[in-house]
């Protein structure tokens, strides 16, 4: 019971500078093609043969697959280290992204590692219940080259039963 799980914490308990590695994922050719066909059908991501002749000289993941996997890694991380997301009542939501860049292509077989660091807690209260946690998120391939980065503002629930300081 003494372990401090993230989910036991409130907005007030999350310190700037906190850093996590959400984990790594190795992208397969199949998932690159399936994602692109369903959500972002570009030839460089749907057709391994045609992709050899195009500007990327080979199949590359959709930029949105790289961010979608970030999301999945974050949810999985919360499941393991933060008592899961169970009924979801306390799950906040992302409201804004800044400076999202894809810096290098991710190809089949590449392993991408996702990191997260809290960089600010903007002074805003949303619907009385939520504060904002701003994090810098980065993704690195197996050569330690950065392939993606962005900042995101995510709602985090403020500690309830605050003394009547309205």
């Amino acid at each position: 019971m003494s372990t401090l799980f993230l989910r036991d914490r409130w907005f007030e308990d999350l310190p700037v500078g906190e850093f996590h590695v959400f984990g790594s994922h190795t992208f397969s050719e199949l998932e690159i093609v399936e994602f692109a066909e369903a959500f972002d059908p570009r030839p460089q991501s749907t057709d391994p043969v045609q992709a050899r002749r195009n500007h990327r000289q080979g199949l590359v993941a959709s930029p949105w697959l790289i961010t979608a996997k970030w999301m999945r890694k974050m949810v999985d991380y919360m499941e393991v280290y933060a008592h899961g997301v169970n009924d979801g009542r306390r799950n906040g939501a992302g409201v804004a992204i800044n400076n999202l860049e894809w810096l290098e292509p991710v190809r089949p077989g590449h392993t991408v590692t996702y990191t997260y660091e809290i960089i600010a807690k903007p002074d805003r209260v949303i619907r009385e219940k939520w504060g904002l946690i701003r994090s810098r998120n980065e993704a690195f391939n197996q050569y330690s080259n950065k392939v993606m980065q962005f900042e995101i503002d995510i709602l985090a629930e403020r500690r309830p039963n605050r003394s009547n300081d309205i």
């Binding site: 500007h55 930029p63 979608a68 999945r72 949810v75 894809w102 709602l155």
Partner: protein, 151 residues
């Protein structure tokens, strides 16, 4: 040159409907949080109902942007960066999304060979025309279109 520029200089996409299967299929693979998976849990959540993952909306908006640019003589190649992305309203089951694109005048060098970088503002709207998300993006457009446009 192009026919579907509105007088204000915007390009508009066709609408696309997000049904429950589509919302859950994306979320179960990439964003398995209760408010994207389970109608009852979603009612108790911050959104108040089952709604699409913001990343699903971003990917589909990009799909609509690429199709619309292609139809208007701008061969979209790839998304380069997104300086701002704001999600302002959830998209619930069976709601529609469409995009309204404004092309910025300035062109810049693209990191992708054979392309030019085009900045654009994208408003993602629901079926009632209300803005649900907003994106400032830079995309790579095939350089060939520039040559073709010259007399």
């Amino acid at each position: 040159m192009t026919t579907s520029f509105t007088p204000s200089g915007h390009l508009n996409s066709e609408p696309l409907t997000l049904d429950k299967n589509a919302i859950v299929a994306f979320a179960s693979r990439f964003d398995p949080q209760p408010y994207h998976l389970d109608s009852e849990a979603a009612e108790q959540s911050i959104f108040g109902g089952l709604c699409a993952s913001g990343w699903h909306i971003a990917a589909l908006a990009t799909r609509l942007v690429s199709e619309t640019l292609l139809q208007n003589g701008h061969p979209f190649v790839e998304m380069i960066s997104v300086s701002q992305l704001r999600w302002s309203q959830p998209i619930f089951v069976n709601e529609q999304i469409s995009v309204r694109i404004a092309l910025d005048a300035s062109l810049s060098e693209s990191p992708i060979p054979g392309t030019r970088a085009q900045s654009l503002q994208v408003d993602v709207c629901n079926g009632e025309g209300a803005e649900v998300a907003k994106m400032s993006a830079t995309v790579a457009i095939s350089a060939e279109s520039v040559l073709e446009a010259r007399p």
